[in-house]
């Protein structure tokens, strides 16, 4: 018996007897006149993993996690991808413990090879030749492309001033510690800021309501526990949370399975019975979209009325929860408990009050409140989606109040999320100096089109202008150009039809990406950016999970692609600030970046990770292994020290601010970034579109657009092997469908006053009546009348944000009917799955 067979047997936990019975060799059946025996693989020579070069790297898209990818390559070609097996950190094969679990990649990560080698890959700089948005480009040289961009920048800055270029970089496909695209610490922000012409975009599409809430309530967005703590809860309330779809952070979804095995009960509050509900066997409480704050208020009411609150926790740690915790300066203001009890407006926020608002029975609200208040420890995970609403921040603030009143903060198995950001990695390998995030004006991200279309007749509160301390405060930016770096925002922001009007008024649109994107089709110039397989970097999970993964350059950049750092450095040299922009680089960095990148990364590892995070593994050893997993001394729990050791919260009062000191003290809301009043305590505020509104006469369905499992926002929409696993469809309840005469598979149009999309219908009992669901991120595909045939819900969403900056993605009313219009399911129908099957000229 061979050694491999032996090790297989032992690894598969076989008894000695059956293991001895194994024998080598295979036998072909004499079925026909075979001229040789069957072999294992259809194509020989078949390269087994052990014949290939193994390179540890990670995925790189913007989902909050970074899981391990292992490239198996031959020469300069990646043959296949696998994931963590536990051995790369130095343990034996398939080590996978609760303390150090494997970092297994999801379906999106596993499809990366298809993305890397996709037909949509940008290989050369391209210049627009047709009308903007027409999608006609010609190939140009880097010299031509960069000269064009640099000249245009100089012209625009000279003519329109320092706010004319809009930074719309985002953490899309390009995110590492060195090559980074985001608004605060990204490469583009540094580039445009240093150049002196930058309007930045301050609100985060995914979760601005939630970050606002956590900042106001806890003084920080680091309100998260590490993923492993979920295994210790006795009750997990998933409020609009679907970890089975988002794979949000480390191994959260897996630790919840462990919780279930240990007897944890699960509840899902969501208009949809999601796969998270079925997997964790959750009690599903369907709720009307946008009414979450009302239901939470009713839970608070039940808890107060029945005296189930943790009064000791309230007295010790909160400000404004009740009359007793009001600070002296606010004695004449509303406190939370009296708001809930109806002391001020005569309306107790009781379960009976909430029932007609939320569509949830009062008895269910009471039962849940009782469960939550009496089960210890219990995790109420108030996720982001219900916060992507008009007044979404009120939902998150309300949830934080309920978490605090039950004392489920700072304890193992509890939860104060919220944002959920937990352990903090060291995330920047390039200089974080005075040139970081210089901005001349900053607006709510979804208001750029409104600003462009109405300039100069725009009020500062309409665009959420961030206050400045100099004399430019309040100046409306005169936006004339956009830079997209690792972002497909044109496809992903709200009210795309309005964006289409606005983009026609711009003079420069630059798109930097590794593939063509729907946004890229509206650009003037396309710059091909190397993927993370083609450059040196390191990966970290920014949301949950405590590890670093090394990302070496696995293959040479395809075509003429360059890293975004190379492009910005070269442009900076041409514009006169190259040395400052990239201080370690030399003038030839555009052609020769590897040594410089290595120095940045080594210094990051040694000066930040090793020096500040008690890591002893050397840079060289890290590079050799490819991964470093931290073993935390104790489970990372947000605010544990605050509760156990009396550490102050990062709020003005040092307490959990149910009454926000900051909000209470604003007098002129138009001078704030929010523009409009936000109550100092959490309140239910009626949204501008919802099922309780009169607008339902014309638009009777409430549309929500959650994150899909098969894409990360719009990334991977073009991947055929993913595309064949789902439909871009509208989900509706069976009773609604019956009324409209719609069956599963029928093509329907979904429309409102802002736009129209065409999609197939999916009819199910798993969706609440009155609710329609279309997953975000489909690549827009307009017909001649401006109807989107791909089914991108952002043709229907409103670009009017919540005061705190939350995108109102889920505050949308629509109507639905059967249609003769065509749905086109993919970027290129013939390149997608089902068309492959039905391509008739083949030998099918």
């Amino acid at each position: 018996m061979s050694n491999t067979a032996k090790s297989l047997a032992s690894r598969l936990n076989m008894t000695r007897r059956s293991f001895l019975k194994m024998s080598a060799g295979t036998m072909a059946i004499a079925g026909g006149l075979v001229h040789r025996d069957g072999k294992a693989f259809a194509y020989e020579p078949y390269l087994r993993d052990d014949d290939l070069t193994t390179v540890v790297t990670s995925c790189a898209h913007n989902c909050g996690s970074r899981h391990m990818l292992v490239a198996h390559k031959k020469g300069d070609v990646i043959v296949r991808l696998s994931t963590d097996t536990g051995e790369y950190q130095g343990d034996s094969w398939n080590t996978d413990t609760e303390e150090v679990p494997q970092l297994r990649a999801c379906l999106r990560g596993r499809s990366y090879r298809s993305r890397l080698y996709s037909a949509e890959r940008l290989l050369f700089p391209m210049m627009r030749v047709g009308e903007r948005g027409e999608g006609k480009f010609k190939r140009v040289s880097w010299e031509e492309a960069l000269s064009f961009v640099a000249e245009k920048m100089e012209y625009i800055k000279e003519k329109y001033g320092p706010t004319a270029l809009l930074d719309q970089s985002y953490a899309g496909a390009s995110w590492g510690v060195l090559h980074k695209s985001d608004q605060i610490t990204g490469l583009l922000g540094r580039f445009l800021g240093m150049y002196g012409c930058r309007t930045s975009s301050w609100s985060v599409p995914s979760y601005q309501g939630t970050t606002f809430s956590s900042r106001m309530t806890f003084g920080t967005i680091k309100d998260g526990n590490e993923d492993d703590t979920f295994a210790h809860s006795k009750l997990i309330i998933m409020w609009g949370w679907n970890p089975a779809y988002t794979f949000h952070g480390g191994n959260t979804f897996y630790y919840m399975r462990l919780a279930k095995q240990r007897g944890c009960k699960f509840v899902l509050i969501d208009p949809q019975y999601t796969d998270s509900a079925s997997t964790y066997d959750a009690w599903w409480i369907p709720i009307r979209p946008n009414t979450d704050a009302a239901m939470l208020a009713a839970m608070a009411h039940y808890i107060f009325v029945n005296n189930l609150q943790d009064q000791e926790f309230i007295d010790k740690f909160t400000q404004g929860m009740d009359a007793g915790t009001m600070p002296d300066w606010a004695k004449d203001r509303e406190n939370f408990k009296d708001y809930i009890l109806g002391t001020y407006d005569g309306q107790p926020k009781s379960p009976e009050w909430a029932e007609p608002i939320c569509g949830v029975k009062a008895a269910d609200i009471k039962k849940l409140a009782e469960m939550y208040a009496t089960t210890k420890p219990a995790a109420l995970k108030a996720s982001w989606a219900p916060g992507r609403n008009a007044y979404g921040e009120q939902y998150n603030r309300m949830a934080a109040a309920v978490q605090a009143m039950t004392g489920n903060i700072g304890v193992l198995g509890g939860c104060s999320e919220g944002v959920g950001k937990a352990w903090s990695p060291k995330s920047s390998a390039y200089p974080q100096d005075k040139y970081k995030n210089i901005w001349k004006q900053s607006i709510k991200s979804d208001r750029w089109a409104h600003c462009v279309l109405n300039y100069p007749n725009v009020k500062r509160e309409e665009i959420g202008l961030w206050p400045r301390s100099d004399n430019t405060d309040g100046q409306i930016p005169n936006i004339k150009g956009i830079f997209w770096q690792g972002s497909d925002w044109f496809n992903q922001l709200t009210n795309i039809n309005k964006e289409i009007e606005a983009i026609k008024k711009l003079e420069l649109v630059v798109c930097m990406d590794s593939t063509i994107t729907p946004s890229g089709l509206w650009a003037d110039i396309l710059l091909p950016i190397a993927t993370h397989f083609e450059r040196h970097d390191a990966a970290l999970p920014w949301y949950k999970g405590h590890y670093y993964i090394h990302r070496p350059k696995v293959i040479e950049p395809l075509g003429e692609s360059k890293t975004d750092f190379q492009v910005f450095t070269e442009l900076a040299y041409r514009l006169g600030f190259g040395e400052k922009y990239n201080p370690k680089a030399t003038r030839d960095y555009f052609d020769n970046n590897e040594e410089v990148d290595e120095v940045y990364l080594r210094e990051w590892w040694e000066n930040q990770v090793m020096a500040k995070q008690h890591v002893e593994l050397t840079w060289e050893e890290f590079k050799k292994r490819g991964v470093y997993k931290f073993k935390l001394k104790r489970p990372h729990i947000a605010f544990q020290d605050n509760v156990e050791k009396g550490k102050k919260w990062y709020t003005p009062s040092g307490k959990i601010e149910i009454l926000s000191t900051k909000l209470a003290r604003y007098t002129d809301w138009t001078k704030t970034a929010y523009g409009y009043e936000i109550p100092a305590i959490p309140k239910w505020i009626e949204p501008w579109e919802w099922l309780g509104s009169e607008k339902t006469q014309d638009y009777p369905f409430h549309l929500v657009s959650p994150h899909p499992r098969w894409r990360t926002h719009s990334i991977f929409n073009n991947i055929g092997i993913l595309r064949e696993t789902y439909e871009q469809e509208v989900t509706i309840n069976a009773s609604d469908a019956k009324r409209l005469g719609i069956k599963t598979g029928d093509t329907v149009e979904v429309w409102n006053g802002r736009g129209k999309v065409v999609v197939p219908a999916y009819v199910t009992e798993r969706c609440m009546p009155g609710v329609a669901v279309i997953h975000e991120g489909a690549w827009m595909d307009l017909d001649e009348n401006g109807v989107d045939r791909a089914g991108n819900p952002d043709f229907l969403t409103d670009d009017n944000p919540s005061p705190a900056g939350a995108f109102a993605y889920n505050t949308v009313l629509v109507n639905i009917k059967k249609t003769e219009l065509a749905h086109r399911p993919g970027w290129d129908k013939l390149a997608t799955a089902r068309s492959q099957v039905f391509r008739r000229e083949s030998s099918f």
Binding site: G31, G32, L33, V34, H35, R36, A42, E727, K743, T744, G745, D746, T747, P760, A822, H823, P825, L830, R834, S835, F838, R839, R840, E841, S843, F844
Partner: protein, 257 residues
Amino acid sequence: MKKAKFAKFCTVILLLSSSPLISVAAETAGLDYERARWHPIHFKPAIDSATNEQCLECHQAILDRKVKEQSPAGVKATNALAWYQTLDVYQGEQETFHRRHLVTPMAKQLMNLQCNFCHQGHDPREEAPIPPTTKASFTLRKMVNPETTCLKCHGKYDYKVMGLPGPWTENGKLFNNNCMICHQAIRTNRHQVTYLNAEAIEKAGQENSDTCYGCHGGRQWYRISYPYPRHPWPGQAPVVPDWAKDRPTESEARFRK
């Protein structure tokens, strides 16, 4: 897909209206694949009365396509040996599954299979019926349930039930390899169903028992047999043996002549 072909493909699909016998291609220029695959003819009840001609208007490729002349490693189709080719009565080339069952000379002679004999409607998502059941006409991952289709002709016959001392392959010689020695008298009217040409089968069986064996004797690759309805034959003993209890006494209504 080439444009002309795609246009043709688009025009061949249509709304099945009151009469199921109208051409599936009659209407609908511009109907796309997305709609076509959800066309009512793919589902019950319309699929029950769909004709082969209607099916083949779109799915003709299933019969046009033949086996490859040789495999990538060079196995020639002419040298390959399918099970049915081991029969003396079989003539002809190596054929694909669908051609073998629908258009080869022997298929035309002995059988009258319709597309909807096997294809009884399934979810284009190829997922499960709602709610889940054990009584589906299609199974998970499969458009067709072999237990209620293939087994109607192919399947293991229990030699003990037939009163043989052992499997036919070992004992056929005792009977001169002639099924009719017994089955001339012990007859059922099982072949009297719409999907078979009963008279032609009787004739072929008389001429050479290989024809019988072709369906009933070999291909024992399912471990169970089909619970055929137990039609009484003249002179049949009134006692129902254990193995035949609970069996229906008539063929499925849709196949009765």
